[in-house]
Symmetry: C2
Subunit: 246 residues, 2 copies
DNA sequence: TTGCACGATTTGTCAGAGAAATAGCGGGGC
DNA sequence: GCCCCGCTATTTCTCTGACAAATCGTGCAA
């Protein structure tokens, strides 16, 4: 016995930062998805510990640890007597990798997608600029390798998408700015979303690998102005492409 | 009995996002601070559940829930047999409000402070630009009110600092971008840090309230270019001011 | 040398019992 | 009638003790 009744099954999504192998992890995942997709709305009270644990046939301990996780990400707040309630959206840690991933398990709203691209358009050009100034040879090598992978597999493949994320990640790393680097997963999510859309909805008007190469060379030449411009191009293209698909 | 032996006492810090009233909260807080300040280094193993709970005279339950919180913020990772280890810095959610607050309970490194200001210089001017285009009358009213408060109390006071944070928060809100808004607490931390420094180390060469007013009016006039410029001025000033104090 | 089984250790899960906090209700005083 | 205060019921919080599951390392065997 002691098995979860409602195992909703892994939805077809990419990477998991939280293990999710343990029960408390999968409960946190499921509840998290239900919250960010709006099944539970801000102000709603989650099932009480006894109620929930009996319904799903798990221990109160497991449920409580799951709630701790959600609480740490700002999604819920627990208090005696009133129970555990979903907090208002403004307090959610939307940039938390898990929360972001949970958002993408549903159908994120158009505004949210737009917001993410807007953020990307703010962050990445500056990151590219910094990277052009601060990059080391090792950074450059990583970018070059990712570029090769992209060229080899094409952006429509899983491997190509992975390489794309690696490329952008390498740029963030080269910016030598720790707070900026933590946004890498956020950027990745946006990148992934874009390329998925690209894959299934449109043919690209230009060769995206070539565009990446321009950026790569600008950073290689330690030319921050060109790097910023190239990144702006890159993001704008992705943005327009996505916009057409919304 | 059942009382924590080592209650390190509330360090003199500002706001708590996590309640910390409960035992698991204070354990998470203490451990979190110890991790981000480097007492536990990446790769280190945290005390085992039995060991820790006996030493501090708390239950395994409480300790485990604390570890769940830290794990949700990317600070640690638990596995059977090997124990709970501190993860490498790259995986920490530095933009998590709690993690950020914990960083500031110690003496953050110069690079980190610089990185934070760099991020602020990237984010806030764009946010101001967006706010100038999208702000509502209510947003403007909030900013105006915060401005008045700043003028009344001066930036050297606690009330003044609070008003400053409110002002910047209102701008983020007016940008109408959810992911951007979640960076508000990050910005706040940087703002708070700056003004604290200002207060105890230097006299300002210019009237900061007047500078804020320029920004406020640019946004009021729906002038994104002027708003960006004003915000750049504001952040640069804070940055230079802080730089001198490092 | 390589592969595999096993034992030891640590986290993971469960069950049950109180303790603590608190929202809401009701009674007493004015 | 209105306000303040204490009581009660409910929910989370904490503790305890037990067993399950995972996995690293060891040592044996092929």
């Amino acid at each position: 016995m002691r098995q979860r009744k409602e195992q909703t099954g892994p939805r077809t999504t990419g990477l998991n930062t939280t293990s999710m192998k343990r029960i408390h992890g999968s409960i946190a995942h499921d509840l998290g998805v239900d919250i960010v997709t709006g099944i539970y709305k801000p102000g709603d009270t989650l099932p009480g510990e006894i109620e929930f644990s009996e319904q799903l046939d798990v221990s109160r301990t497991a449920y409580r640890e799951a709630v701790r996780i959600l609480s740490a990400k700002g999604l819920v707040e627990s208090r005696p007597r009133t129970g555990t309630r979903v907090t208002e959206k403004e307090r959610w840690n939307l940039l938390d990798p898990d929360v972001l991933a949970w958002m993408f398990e549903g159908e994120p709203s158009v505004e949210f997608i737009r917001g993410l691209f807007e953020l990307r358009m703010i962050i990445e050009p500056s990151a590219a600029e910094l990277a052009a100034v601060r990059r080391s040879g090792a950074d450059l090598a990583r970018m070059g390798h990712a570029l090769e992978e992209m060229a080899r597999h094409g952006l429509a493949t899983e491997a190509g998408r992975e390489a794309d994320q690696l490329f952008h990640h390498a740029i963030l790393e080269a910016s030598r700015n720790a707070p900026l680097m933590t946004l890498s997963s956020t950027i990745s999510a946006a990148v992934s979303w874009t390329t998925i859309f690209k894959q299934r909805k449109r043919k690209l008007p230009r060769d995206p690998v070539a565009d990446h190469r321009v950026l790569y060379e600008a950073i290689g030449n330690s030319d921050p102005v060109a790097a910023r411009a190239a990144m702006v191009d890159l993001v704008r293209l992705a943005q327009e492409d996505t916009e057409l698909s919304l």
